[in-house]
């Protein structure tokens, strides 16, 4: 999230976002701030806080291109890129209107062949990075798949670990090795207002306040002014 705020401050433009497999607060902020030209995703949602207001508004005003997908199709597309094959077969989705819009998805009998997606950049927040350049993402294995599939991988992280986590049999299963990692940035509480499992919870109140504020263009702008553009010592109020 801290990186998302920095992207907004740097006035990033024409980003194309891929949800793995869905998008949330980060995407809504980037969309509202005018950074995004296109999203490909299975959904954009703030979870219990409801609809993503800036996404909804942008789509209804036709200022954002949406390639609608479904979760397992995005997983398949990244796994195809992970393996270096042009497509991966997926069962079960034949009856969806998604097939009418996704001409790139080829129907073959009961299967749909989903083409590989090879993102330019995978961007995520991790619990640990170590001196060898590895990062630890725990059970969020979809981040490993996204990293494998992407050309560049940038990671913000909570805490630095000394040594090499791959030397530790217990930590290693949650590691994405430095082979894939292009750059890391030390960003304590960088997930805020989302949570980091095992370290801090989500700031539900903040997210629901955002959801209310961002219902209007003005409210969203006030949120940006207060929480993104104002320099603060910490990324979080805690």
């Amino acid at each position: 999230m801290e990186v998302v705020r920095a992207l907004i401050r740097k006035k990033a433009r024409n980003l194309r976002l891929l949800g793995v497999p869905i998008l949330g607060l980060s995407a809504d902020l980037l969309i509202g701030a005018g950074c995004v030209a296109e999203v490909e995703t299975s959904a954009v949602s703030l979870g219990e806080a409801g609809l993503a207001p800036r996404f909804t508004d942008a789509v209804e005003k036709k200022s954002l291109l949406v390639k609608d997908a479904t979760c397992p199709a995005i997983h398949c597309a990244l796994q195809a890129a992970e393996k270096g094959v042009p497509f991966m077969p997926l069962a079960g989705i034949g009856a969806s209107d998604l097939l009418k819009e996704r001409k790139d998805w080829k129907v073959q009998g009961d299967l749909v062949l989903v083409p590989a997606i090879r993102p330019d950049i995978a961007l995520f927040h991790a619990r640990w990075a170590d001196e060898a350049g590895n990062v630890w993402v725990g059970r969020r294995r979809e981040l490993a798949t996204a990293a494998h599939a992407s050309r560049l991988v940038f990671v913000s992280f909570e805490e630095k670990k000394p040594g090499d986590m791959l030397e530790d049999e217990v930590l290693a299963p949650g590691v994405i090795s430095s082979i894939y990692v292009s750059g890391v940035a030390h960003t304590p509480r960088g997930a805020w207002p989302l949570g980091m499992p095992g370290l801090y919870g989500a700031d539900d109140l903040h997210v629901s306040q955002y959801a209310k504020a961002a219902r209007t263009r003005d409210g969203f702008q006030r949120y940006l002014d207060e929480w993104v553009h104002t320099p603060r010592k910490n990324s979080s109020p805690a």
Binding site: P21, A52, T56, P72, H75, A91, G92, R141, D204
Partner: protein
């Protein structure tokens, strides 16, 4: 309604619909289906529930694709789907309707086709949500049931039509006919949905409330005043 919350009634109906199931999965933002599953788990020891977006102790260690892989393996019997629109043919729409944009299809396009027992759940029961034909088919399949805030429908596979099974306390069969946008079959006498039993309420307000509070704190506060 009786001395219980509507959410508690709905959770009880869901727990009953899970009869015979071994493993139900619950997607994002579905506190009532989750409550129904946890209720079932409290009296059916062989029953397993996996919450897709569990904040702590997420059961999936292969990342967010594991839910879909599990379904592909045939290891999930029951899944829950909602929709901005649900139509009389069992199709759901999570994408767009009447110029409005909704979050998107999530995994519905897949789960509906793959999981043997899909329970459709939408609390709002109106001609806006229950339509003759959805504007966009996020997913289409063979539902096991459609549960709303007012009634329970079963699905007739041969006719591919819903059948009204019961109306919730305080709701009449006529009200259902008026507020439902699609046509459906109904018995001459429509039974009432059985209310929660005292033991069901005890479970809901004890272990279920605690479990739900960890993953849907907002909802738990609203229904049970807990977090």
């Amino acid at each position: 309604m009786g001395p219980y919350a509507k959410e508690e009634l709905l959770a009880c109906v869901i727990a009953r619909l899970l009869d015979g199931a071994r493993h139900a999965a619950v997607g994002a933002s579905s506190p009532i289906p989750a409550a129904g599953c946890f209720l079932r788990k409290n009296f059916d020891l062989g029953f397993r529930v996996s919450l897709q977006q569990r904040r702590a102790s997420n059961p999936f260690t292969e990342g967010s694709r594991e839910l879909f892989d599990l379904a592909g393996q045939g290891r999930i019997d029951v899944f829950f789907l909602g929709g901005a629109q649900i139509d009389g043919g069992g199709a759901i729409n999570l994408v767009r309707a009447e110029g409005k944009r909704f979050p998107g299809s999530f995994g519905s396009a897949y789960m509906y086709g793959v999981v043997p027992r899909t329970i459709l759940f939408r609390e709002e029961h109106s001609r806006r949500t229950l339509v003759p034909k959805v504007e966009f088919v996020s997913a289409r399949g063979t539902p096991a049931a459609l549960l709303t805030g007012k009634a329970l429908f079963s699905w007739q596979k041969d006719k591919r039509r819903f059948r009204l099974e019961s109306v919730h306390p305080g709701v009449s069969a006529e009200e259902i006919r008026e507020t439902t946008g699609f046509d459906y079959d109904a018995p001459q006498q429509v039974p009432g949905t059985p209310p929660p039993s005292p033991s069901e309420l005890n479970l809901l307000r004890g272990p279920v409330a605690r479990e739900i509070g960890e993953n849907y704190p907002e909802f738990a506060r609203r229904v049970w005043g807990s977090s």
